[in-house]
């Protein structure tokens, strides 16, 4: 068995930060080589090409950094969604991520790329599935009401990931709070 010359995930973590801060198109392969400390040949062997690196990094971000735990660790549904959404704006001190969501930021920059189209739509479906499970377990919404609230939640997920760019972070937090209250209003019966 050939020993792995580099730690795949730690290389991808560095790529996440770089793509996120500089943009995908603003990041040349040389920069990836420098920051990961892995030579171009090995990077290509592992990931295929720059797009392969991006897709692997998106996959890793989805697995590691999307704060799904926040959805299940809260006392009320309203609080669960608020904690989930706002975690993107208070990233953990362990990583040096910028504000917002890496997947949404890439989705905005690379909106014309087929692979990203597929990845982002799958990601939204994945979120919807998680939200749906939480709502089903904790409320007795009718099918129609459930479908409506899921659309609202997904739309406001996209909204909040664009909003912090224009609003100061304190206003974004207030905005999230007010809107989640508005959306989950129908749950309090």
């Amino acid at each position: 068995m050939r020993p792995k010359e580099f730690n795949r995930n730690s290389v991808l973590e560095k790529c996440i930060t770089l793509f996120w801060e500089e943009g995908y198109n603003g990041t040349g392969i040389q920069k990836l080589v420098t920051i990961s400390g892995v030579n171009r040949y090995s990077l290509y062997e592992e990931f295929g090409n720059k797009e392969g690196i991006l897709l692997a990094s998106l996959e890793l971000y989805k697995e590691r950094h999307v704060p799904l735990k926040k959805l299940t660790n809260s006392s009320t549904i309203q609080e669960a969604f608020y904690q989930f959404y706002s975690s993107f704006f208070y990233p953990s001190k362990l990583n040096s991520h910028p504000l917002g969501c890496y997947i949404s930021t890439m989705a905005m920059e690379l909106r014309e790329t087929n692979e990203i189209q597929l990845f982002f739509n799958n990601y939204l479906a994945f979120l919807e599935q998680e939200f749906s499970q939480l709502l089903k377990e904790n409320s007795d919404l009718s099918e129609d009401d459930l479908a409506t609230i899921l659309k609202q939640l997904i739309m406001y997920y996209c909204t909040s990931m664009g909003m912090y760019i224009i609003f100061p972070i304190s206003e974004t937090a207030k905005y999230l709070h007010d809107n989640i209250k508005l959306i989950t209003r129908c749950l309090k019966k």
Binding site: E21, G23, N25, G26, P98, S104, T105, A107, M108, E109, R111, E112, Q117, F120, N121, L124, A147, T148, I149, K151, Q152, I154, M155, Y156, Y157, C158, T159, S160, M161, G162, M163, I165, I166, Y175, D178, N179, L182, I183, R185
Partner: protein
């Protein structure tokens, strides 16, 4: 006699260039060519950053403010806002960049250029004013029960535009309409 340059027309060309290509990817050469002026004139008259600010200004007054005044002056109130959102959902972004130029630039330059802050404030102020007028109109017609809820609804609708700006690249017009109408259902 030197050729007189029609600034309004020239700026409009700059708007299309920034809208389509963003800010960083555009060079002085691209701008000068696209605007039909010399590079030296471009340097002396604007510089890239000032040109962007003037372009956004022109974009807001030609493309956005008319939409806000349509909403403000339409007696259908909230239904006029819905119509605008549906129109965004129905536009074909492959042919016509229907995303918001300001939001695209804001995303690209999120870590720099504080000179854009006042522009955002002005944009949001006008958006809130026109939505608020429309919602009060709906309230008077009996469509919104509690007048105190209006500021909340205004914020919800302002946010909707941000979400739409991302989602419209990923969902079909038909799907988008469902998303939009679900959010409008929050107004009661």
């Amino acid at each position: 006699m030197s050729k007189k340059i029609d600034q309004t027309q020239v700026i409009k060309k700059a708007v299309s260039i920034f809208w389509e290509n963003g800010y960083r990817a555009v060079s002085y050469q691209d701008l000068a060519e696209g605007m039909g002026i010399s590079k030296s004139f471009l340097y002396n008259q604007w510089g890239k950053e000032q040109l962007l600010l003037d372009s956004i200004d022109s974009y807001l007054s030609h493309n956005i403010d008319p939409v806000f005044s349509f909403i403000e002056n339409d007696e259908r109130g909230v239904e006029a806002i819905r119509e605008v959102y549906h129109e965004v959902a129905n536009s074909n972004y492959n042919e016509d960049p229907c995303t918001c130029m300001l939001m695209n630039v804001a995303l690209e330059l999120r870590n720099e250029m504080d000179s854009l802050r006042p522009v955002y404030s002005k944009f949001l102020k006008n958006m809130r004013r026109s939505y608020s007028t429309a919602l009060h109109c709906t309230h008077k017609a009996g469509g919104i029960k509690d007048v105190k809820k209006i500021p909340e609804y205004v914020e919800m609708l302002v946010g909707l535009m941000f979400g739409l700006n991302l989602l419209l690249h990923y969902k079909s017009s038909k799907e988008l309409i469902v998303y939009i109408d679900s959010c409008f259902a929050l107004i009661e």
